[in-house]
């Protein structure tokens, strides 16, 4: 029963997220494109980890 309530609660929250949060407005930004923020910051984070790992090997 507890597990069923937990799963149904989680499903309701996910459904609410799907309808409200994912409907966010994406606005065009001239210098730094907000729509590419994940790729941009992801590349930076991955790049930092790679650069530090490569420098450790030298």
């Amino acid at each position: 029963m507890r597990v069923a309530l937990y799963v149904s609660g989680l499903a309701m929250v996910i459904a609410s997220l799907a309808t409200s949060v994912s409907a966010g407005v994406v606005s065009a930004v001239p210098e730094i494109d907000g729509a590419s923020i994940t790729a941009g910051l992801g590349l930076l984070a991955g790049g930092v980890l790679l650069v530090r790992a490569r420098l450790r090997r030298k």
Partner: protein, 411 residues
């Protein structure tokens, strides 16, 4: 906040969050302070945007006069370009966004490395970084005008306008990280980075994260020189394959056994994905027309590489990055000491969430897909199962796209 709070409580009970807040109170306070400072600085600097835009306008104008003889320059309306192509230097194009980002990034990096760096000498990197990115923003605008004037108007206003800022920011940020971490003037001699374990041919970070970073870098680079259909998509496939071939010895230690259950998990993930994909996705609706406009051979070749990339290369690269690297990195910094497939709630949730965020608007189905692929890995600690589940989902999405013509589903 009202949405995020119940979501957080659904994932972990209140007692868990309370203990996290108690144990990590210092980190939370630092994060809230830093976030508030960045948010407030945005308001404070907004008033200076117009002035900075005038300096940017003057520098870009000077650079363009060195290239073209027919430069159009209207300071009153901030319109600049050539007789063939002109742009408006909006206040938000002035370079403040890049300056703000690089100062925030370098400030955070210097703070995290504060024990190993020489202060106040290292602080000089902040103004140097700001000047470097402001200058490169001017070069970016010049390049945009050059591309537009050359006849590539759609590329200039499309991919280049969207991606060049991020490319410049990443280039400057990573260059500064390399300078700081090389251990020269700014780092204490006794605080050099610790050496990697002896005997390893390739470090695990490069082996697991490298292919995905190569895809990201290649997609940003090719995206900057594309408009609509990314004709240079094969570049990212080749980039990922080159890194994977260079690191193949690291992958031979993984468990590549596959099972039919992984196929079932992939098929179930496909079904959930299709249920959650918004009906109004239309960003790739122009693909069929672009493919038909090209020669049949080139279109078929491009589609073949796109299919290989989507069904084979991307699942391997993404599983290496998220289930092979991130999942272990969220458990311990030294990922080599954590076996692939080790379960912990935080690493499971966080790695899946980060995976989802890389799917943009489809972040929620992406997160659930990440959880499903992680589940495939946990079941038998077989990395092959995670890759097979991922490849099955992508393969079925590709089949759906070819069968229905709904190209925008192709993430």
């Amino acid at each position: 906040m009202l949405t995020i709070a119940p979501w957080a409580l659904a994932v972990f009970p209140w007692s868990h969050w309370r203990s996290v807040m108690r144990d990590q109170s210092r980190v939370l306070a630092q994060g809230i302070t830093a976030g508030t400072a960045v948010w407030a600085s945005g308001f404070l600097t907004e008033a200076l945007w117009t002035d900075l835009a005038r300096y940017t306008f003057a520098v870009v104008s000077l650079m363009l006069r060195g290239i073209y003889s027919d430069v159009v320059s209207v300071p009153e309306t901030m319109v600049l370009g050539t007789s063939a192509f002109r742009v408006n230097i909006a206040p938000s194009c002035s370079g403040y966004e890049g300056v703000g980002l690089i100062v925030a990034f370098l400030g955070l990096y210097l703070y995290l490395q504060r024990k190993d760096l020489r202060f106040p000498a290292a602080l000089v990197l902040l103004p140097i970084g700001a000047i470097a990115i402001w200058t490169l923003n001017a070069v970016r605008i010049v390049a945009l005008v050059v591309i537009g004037t050359t006849g590539w108007r759609e590329v200039a206003l499309g991919g280049f306008h969207s991606q060049a800022g991020w490319l410049v920011f990443n280039a400057v940020g990573l260059a500064f990280v390399a300078v700081i971490d090389r251990g020269g003037y700014y780092r204490h001699e006794a605080r050099r980075l610790p050496p990697a374990k002896a005997g390893a041919v390739t470090d695990s970070t490069t082996a697991f994260l490298g292919p995905f970073v190569a895809i990201l870098a290649a997609s940003m680079l090719t995206g900057a020189f594309s408009a609509g259909l990314d004709w240079l998509y094969p570049v990212r496939v080749v980039a990922a394959v080159i890194v994977m071939v260079g690191c193949w010895q690291a992958y031979s230690k993984l468990n590549w056994n596959c099972s039919f259950t992984a196929v079932a998990i992939g098929a179930a993930t496909f079904a959930v994905w299709m249920l959650m994909v918004p009906a109004d996705l239309s960003d790739k609706d122009g693909w069929p027309a672009a493919l038909q406009a090209a020669s049949p051979t080139w279109s078929a070749l491009w589609l073949g590489v796109r299919l290989i990339g989507y069904v084979l290369v991307a699942p391997i690269a993404e599983e290496l990055a998220f289930r092979g690297y991130a999942m272990r990195r969220f458990i311990r910094e030294d990922i080599d000491s954590v076996p692939v497939g080790t379960f912990s709630w935080p690493s499971f949730v966080l790695s899946s969430l980060v995976f989802g965020l890389f799917h943009g608007r489809l972040w929620l189905p992406g997160t659930l897909a990440g959880m499903a692929f992680a589940g495939a890995l946990y079941r038998r600690r077989s990395f092959g199962d995670a890759v097979l589940a991922h490849a099955t989902t992508n393969g079925l999405i590709a089949c759906y796209v070819f069968a229905t013509g709904h190209w925008s589903v192709w993430s």
